[in-house]
Amino acid sequence: MGECNYYNYFVGEKLRSMTDPTPQYDVLVAGGGNAALCAAITARRAGASVLVLESAPKDFRGGNSRHTRDIRYMHKAATEYVTHAYGEEEFWQDLLGVTGGATNEGLARLIIRESEDLADWMAKNGVRWQKPLRGTLHLARSNLFMLGGGKAMMNAYYETANKLGVQVHYGTEVRELTISDGEFVSALSVSAGVSRLIETQAIVVAAGGFEANIAWLKEYWGEAADNFVIRGTPHNQGTLLKALLNNGAKPVGDPRGCHAVALDARAPKFDGGIVTRLDSVPFGIVVNKKAQRFYDEGEDFWPKRYAIWGKLIAEQPDQIAYSIIDSEALPHFMPSVFPPVEAASIPKLATALGIEPRTLGAVVDEFNRSVNGGRFNPGTLDDCRTEGLEPQKSHWARPIEAPPFYGYPLRAGITFTYLGVTVDERAQVIMCNERPAKNIFAAGEMMAGNILGKGYLAGFGLTIGSVFGRIAGREAARRAGF
């Protein structure tokens, strides 16, 4: 980390270039998700003319924000939509807890403080709220839920941007940036095979991470990356992240790092979003394709543990695992999108899942024998655990014995990557010479690694994107003379 110019960037495709004069804009926003639109709206309200280039077609606009549902924000009192106050210090401690200190306190506190007026700002820009969804009690204090979820939020932002006169081009990807001496000169965009050179006074780069770029993931994960499921947009190719790094932006965050969760293996390769997640793990056992257990399924509450399971599964042979439960477990977790594989006995279930029946039978028998028979309570860290079993299951361990038996195949699902560009408190991109780029601003997933070195806090991605989107838009407009 910290090494500069270590990416090779090459676009081999033949493009036809546009020669007709394009309208002039003050600010270019590259990207079309939450951070990009917050920037575009803010810059436009400041008086700048704004062009937004979104690489996805209109139906899939909004990047990973279209899959979100709630935003974490600081508030001094309960409201109609959040149950209690959530102050700066508690917010900061939560962040410190998940990152283990891999954060930038200055930027983190800036985000936390500036998140306070987000609820009003978002509502003013068309976002509506709803009561916390059922089954999300752990977030009811700290997070606001968008009515209809993230796509509805993005629809509201696009409508607001449209009313304000922000120009949006869909299906238009920014491929290259010309940066001279830390100053943005022009961007090369491509739409339907036609390239266009765009010159503006300032650029906001809010184009997401590189998690959908399997070739790039392979640089760190090898062939295993072929077996990853990408939870969000296929458009997060990291093209602009690479372009910035190639132009001397200072990287931040572990390039290998990604937020990876356990997903139903039958999920689509991209854009499966929330519905493919599986919450069955704490209520049974998880085995790999050799029918062996490999980690404590009951270590902690699932919302606190689901994000370590992606990596655990990625480390198993063929990057696959199987959650095995019995009929008693079924009512204890949220229904998921694909029906489980069902069988009358454990060996039959193993056969249906394509794993060795006798081995699984033996593993389940051994697990059942080592269960201590405590009082099962899914609402607490109960005292149902295994004795003398390696690895131990420390909570919610009940024998798997009530037929029918169910199995879910699991894969690692990548939510986002941590690698980004370093920014300062004005969202200016810091170059390798430690000087801020004059007119280049970054927001959202591209710079989240400054604050989230590792781990994740539910709803915090949107907080970072919204706060830094607004800062980037404000500063870009200022740079353009507004």
Binding site: R69, K151, A152, D271, P335, P339
Partner: protein, 370 residues
């Protein structure tokens, strides 16, 4: 889509929704869905009739087409509702009227006008039909009182019987015990939800109708139609009461209850039906079921004609066209009431039953939403 495939696809889509739940705040469908893990045909029938077709969930859905999951709840629910109307109607042989509904409504209405005309000509003769009538009870000179009261009453009674049969079947097939219906708190809540069009409010967002922008205009047009219809119904009932019990005979003065109620209701119907027809002409076809759209249009046009011919009659009742207009108006009204159980009006019955089931179910689950 064949019935079996529709149910299968419905269960598939609801399973996706149930794993997501982002739309929970929009309406009653999603909280009701969350009470279930599997979706049988009965469940889908219930959920479909809870849906007010506000389309908010469609535009908010990250899995809507062209996403490979192709989640399109408003279209699915419309198709399932069309199925409900066909399946629960009585007698079964007339369920075909739902399939070619626009054609059926047109033919029946024209036939009604022709029958009224032929009967008037046969029994009263052309002279009375084309004469100018002044003074009291002029309408009855053209169409006798007995014909004008007994025939509509029989048609209305028939329609009522069909709906009772449908409601009972709906209640039974969606798994409700008959006595469960006698829940007055639930009745009160269902009635409030129905009369207030609670689930066209989209949890405060209004409808995405006719397109992806939020607008309350559809709800207001629907209110005009519904309350206009009720006022006209009240007008007719009061008129019948005046006539039958008080011996006051129509036509009534301009500032009498039947005329004022009828006129205000009629204006509501005129504006509401024209407004809804306009919105439908502008509406996004992707979240819609084409056959349901035709059913909607047929019913709205008939309501519009009823109101329009009623006004024409009011305006021209002292001219020689009165007889002809009366024949047309009565024919249209007859067409409206004959096709009432076999057209879009059916939604009133099944939606109310679904709202009642929802009120009961939510109270039992100890959760109140919306």
């Amino acid at each position: 889509m064949p019935d079996f495939d529709l149910v299968k696809d419905g269960a598939r889509q609801m399973t996706i929704c149930n794993a997501c739940r982002y739309c929970e705040g929009y309406c009653a469908v999603f909280p009701a869905m969350e009470q279930r893990r599997v979706f049988t045909k009965a469940d889908l029938t219930y959920l479909a009739n809870l849906c007010f077709d506000c389309r908010d969930c469609y535009y908010a859905c990250q899995y809507a087409p062209p996403h490979e999951f192709g989640v399109n709840i408003p279209k699915l629910m419309s198709e399932l509702r069309a199925d409900t109307y066909r399946e629960f109607t009585w007698p079964a042989i007339l369920s075909g009227l739902f399939k070619q509904n626009a054609l059926a409504v047109t033919v029946i209405t024209i036939a009604s006008i022709v029958i009224v005309l032929v009967l008037v000509l046969l029994f009263q003769g052309p002279n009375l039909l084309f004469a100018t009538h002044l003074g009291a009870a002029t309408f009855y000179r053209v169409v006798p009182f007995a014909a004008m009261t007994i025939v509509p009453s029989l048609i209305a009674l028939y329609g009522f019987a069909v709906f009772v049969a449908g409601a009972v079947r709906f209640w039974r097939e969606t798994g409700g015990a008959p006595l469960q219906m006698l829940d007055f708190a639930a009745f009160w809540r269902a009635t409030k939800d129905a009369f207030g069009l609670a689930y066209m409010k989209g949890g405060g967002a209004a409808c995405n109708y006719p397109d992806e922008r939020f607008s309350a205009i559809r709800m207001w047009f629907h209110h005009l139609v519904f309350y206009g219809f009720l006022m006209d119904f009240a007008s007719t009932t009061i008129a019948a009461f005046y006539d039958h019990f008080l011996g006051w005979q129509a036509p009534y003065p301009y500032f009498s209850a039947p005329v004022v109620l009828g006129a205000v209701g009629g204006i509501g119907l005129l504006i509401g039906t024209v407004g809804l027809l306009y919105l439908k002409s502008q509406s996004d076809r992707t979240p819609a079921d084409a056959s349901m759209l035709k059913m909607d249009v047929a019913f709205l046009v008939l309501l519009l004609l009823t109101s329009f011919t009623g006004f024409a009659l009011l305006a021209l009742r002292e001219t020689s066209t009165m007889g002809t207009l009366l024949v047309i108006h009565l024919g249209v009204v007859a067409g409206l009431f004959i096709t009432l159980p076999y057209g879009k009006f059916a939604h009133v019955i099944y939606r109310y039953a679904a709202l009642l089931r929802y009120a009961i179910e939510q109270r039992r689950a100890g959760t109140h939403t919306g």
